[in-house]
Amino acid sequence: MALPYAHDIDITVQVNGRAVRAVVQPRTTLLDWLREEVGLTGTKKGCNEGACGTCTVLVDGKRMNGCLTLAVQCDGREVTTVEGLAEDGELSPVQRAFRDLDAFQCGYCTPGQLVSATACIAEGHATDPATVREWMSGNICRCSSYPQITAAVLTAAADVR
């Protein structure tokens, strides 16, 4: 065979600004790798099929479902999780807005919401309530803090500006 197929792949991923080197099986998702190997349990597993957005992380600044991404696909890339949002111990504008506008209840979907909101703002989609609602629909909240989440995204967007 022309290509060097392997069952163990060497990867180096920048996780929240820190280089993490590992040997991973190709089938290991970014989600499971972060939680089980890197020890970052902030990112949660909701459905493991990309239908809920709970596992949202950033890869090179773009929001993606960790369960629909293989760790091997992140070799050489930057991954940001909820643990990487605060800077020097200071909550980010998105985190502050979620706190102040009470945009969470049980907290399980919250890491995904925060990461997704951070990207939503960076993408330029935090323009008005209807646009935010649509662009944040990839993060399901069963406790249903949706109006508060939308308000928090808009507030944080203004703060970021």
Binding site: D100, Y108, R142
Partner: protein, 696 residues
């Protein structure tokens, strides 16, 4: 008072730990292997291929596991898996894979071969129907409903159906179990950790004192994590057999059959009224599905003896046994289903009688409990109706535009109500000489903001600033208090905290000092204990039993719904809810609860269902891609929730009743009424899917 949640930073930085976040040294990953048929008997499990896969430590079958005794409530499943060869539903655990990694365990599950002798499953609608409680399906009678029907000027008789639906919590249930000799620690996704202990101790025949359940954060409960489910015992059993800690975090597919759901229900309502719409008789018959072996009853008829004054009432309850896993309470049990039927019928009665639906409710307002004439502990429903109508603009709703682009606009309303469940409570409060305080109680954080409310209560009672009050919760080593379900926590544990704080005050008084003089007096700390007890030391109390009062919470919901007649699709445009629920301790968390509850109701009304496949008997879809729950785009900003000013001292020391579920009742009936208002189609089955609107 508005106070941000005490656990905010932890949740916002990813530091709040949920059950599956725990990784004790040496932990094994467990995956359940479920029976692939909905009915039959197990002939054998062939795990050779599975055991041969790298990273697979073991595949446990009945032979490897202890013999479990029959359990007691609040175990939801009394006869555990692995006890006999009967298969009561698809997904019934017949093996447990243990792997060094999640990948290894999941891959192994797929290659375990389960051999069954399949039998035809019992399908919804064709199961055996029996009285739900006792010998007689009739559970309540007052007056003569048959005479009432004969005399009535206006009558409604309709049947309302609701599909089965799963809680679909974002966190699936899961348990991490670790044995240290005879001591068992469980990190468990639960709503009542204290109640796990008797179930687990009985399952293993161990001393309850040797079991500890740690559960600081639960990723959504809604009742789905209220009772104790087999996987919790199985995680501990696997850990015992393997001699290593085990993490059994249910996969989403397994969640559909390993824990419960709100049952499929069929309810028939017969209302008889005079020409002015005053009720002469109410008949309510309800049937919900149960498992073939395990039982769950949804007493949906409660509403019909609690909401409206009627001289004649007759209630019937039945269950229908089918080849599904057993249902369980879901946010707004009893009244959630009950008001779907009753409030829909009342809206139809209003139309029949030519009376405004709100006026019909006012005409039938119950000054005292219709069931037994007891006075209400506190009932400000009339004020709620008035305030809600004002905020919504109910009286001039049809003077506003009836069309918005493609959308036909409709309006609907319904009464909201929940019975007042109360459980005993216990708490401890520490007051330090430095002016700080610690509240301790084994409540759970399912998102209601309970810990924050407890901190507020302690702060207020002690006269200590809120930011000097810490709360410890979610550990059975702390004072064991009532469960975090049934909208009971603020009432029960809140009262216990108030009581403990008053105990601190009493001890200070006995010492003859003020709190700020503790240091000078050489007193480091004062520890107060408090409890909340029910009449006759009962473990549960509903509806004010044992007191002179009937207790219930109340409210009204108004919804504006857009219907696109070309497709039958529905969109929520605005909602107004006003509630009478006693004192509101934290306005911020209370608002979140009510909004969440209205969305819960919208989901039930318009999209949520779990279908039993009509030939094979199992859930058709066991995932979130084929099962819908509301997304952000479904929910407008214009959801206006508020409370009537109220202090109910009969219900609890702090004047509160419960709010977590109240807002989820009545929403579906209001939505169905709005659909009828918009396009003249009457749908009597939820969810109101587009094709049901088009069919009308």
């Amino acid at each position: 008072m508005i106070a941000t949640r005490v656990e905010a930073t932890a949740k916002l930085t990813g530091r709040a730990t949920f059950a599956a976040d725990h990784r004790p040294e040496g932990v094994l990953h467990a995956v359940l292997v479920g029976a692939p048929v909905a009915a039959g008997t197990l002939r054998g499990v062939d795990a050779d291929a599975a055991r041969a896969l790298p990273g697979v430590t073991a595949v446990l079958t009945a032979a490897d596991l202890p013999d479990f005794p029959r359990l007691d409530m609040p175990a939801a499943v009394l006869t555990l898996p692995f006890t006999d060869d009967r298969i009561p539903h698809e997904g019934w655990p017949v093996a447990i894979v243990l792997g060094e990694s999640i990948e290894a365990a999941e891959a192994a599950r797929a290659v375990v071969r389960v051999d069954c002798a399949a039998e035809p499953p019992v399908l919804l609608g064709s199961g055996e129907r029996t009285p739900a409680m006792g010998e007689d399906a009739v559970v309540f009678t007052k007056g003569d409903v048959d005479a009432a029907r004969a005399q009535a000027a206006v009558r409604v008789e309709q049947t309302y159906v609701q599909a089965a639906r799963h809680h679909n919590t974002m966190e699936t249930s899961g348990t991490v179990a670790r044995w240290d000799g005879d001591r068992l620690t469980l990190w468990d996704a639960v709503q009542a950790g204290s109640t796990v202990i008797p179930v687990v101790s009985k399952a293993f025949g161990i001393d309850a004192a040797n079991v500890r359940v740690v559960s600081p954060h639960t990723g959504g409960g809604f009742g789905g994590k209220g009772y104790i489910w087999p996987h919790e015992v199985l995680a501990a059993a696997a850990a015992r057999v393997a001699g290593r800690p085990v993490k059994l975090h249910l996969r989403r597919a397994d969640q559909f059959s390993a824990v419960g759901y709100q049952p499929w229900m069929e309810q028939t309502i017969r209302l008889a009224a005079d020409a002015e719409g005053r009720l002469l008789g109410v008949e309510h018959a309800a049937v919900n599905n149960a498992g073939l072996v395990e039982t769950h009853v949804e007493p949906a008829t409660e509403a019909s003896k609690s909401l409206y004054a009627s001289p004649a009432i007759r209630l019937r309850l039945e269950i229908e046994r089918v080849s599904l896993n057993v249902p369980t309470p879901m946010r707004a049990p009893v009244e959630g289903p009950g008001l779907w039927a009753l409030e829909s019928a009342m809206n139809e009665l209003a139309d029949e009688a030519g009376i405004d639906p709100l006026d019909l409710r006012l005409a039938n307002f119950a000054e005292v409990s219709p069931a037994d004439g007891r006075p209400w502990s506190s009932n400000r429903l009339r004020e709620a109706y008035a305030e809600g109508a004002r905020r919504y603009g109910w009286r001039n709703r049809h003077q506003r535009p009836r069309q918005d682009g493609h959308w036909r606009i409709g309006h609907g309303m319904a009464t909201c109500s929940m019975g007042s469940f109360r459980f005993p409570g216990a708490a401890r409060v520490h007051l330090g000489a430095d002016g700080s305080a610690v509240v301790e109680s084994n409540v759970h954080d399912i998102g209601s903001g309970a810990q924050t409310v407890l901190a507020q209560i302690a702060a207020e009672e002690l006269g200590v600033p809120l930011d000097r009050v810490a709360v410890r919760w979610g550990d059975t080593d702390l004072p064991r208090t009532g469960p975090t379900y049934g909208s009971s926590t603020t009432m029960g544990t809140g009262s216990a905290v108030a009581s403990a704080a008053r105990d601190v005050g009493k001890q200070l008084a006995d010492l003859g000092i003020e709190a700020d003089a503790m240091a000078a007096a050489g007193v480091d700390e004062i520890v107060g204990e408090g409890t909340y007890e029910l009449p006759d030391g009962a473990m549960f109390n509903g509806d004010g039993e044992g007191t002179p009062y009937a207790m219930r919470t109340w409210g009204v919901i108004f919804v504006e719904v857009g219907v696109d007649p070309d497709f039958g699709i529905l969109r929520l445009r605005r909602a107004v809810g006003v509630y009478s629920a006693g004192r509101i301790v934290n306005a911020l968390t209370a608002r979140a609860q009510m909004i969440g509850a209205i969305v819960w109701g919208w989901g039930k009304a318009t999209m949520e269902e779990s279908d039993q496949e009509p030939v094979h008997g199992r859930w058709l879809a066991k995932n979130l891609s084929n099962v819908a729950v509301p997304v952000n785009a479904d929910i407008p900003a214009d959801i206006d929730v508020s409370f009537v000013e109220e202090f109910d001292e009969a219900a609890s020391l702090i004047g509160a009743r419960g709010i977590g579920e109240l807002g989820a009742t009545g929403v579906d009936a209001a939505v169905a009424a709005a659909v009828h208002d918009a396009v003249g189609v009457r749908v009597r089955e939820v969810p109101i899917l587009p094709w049901k609107v088009l069919a009308g």
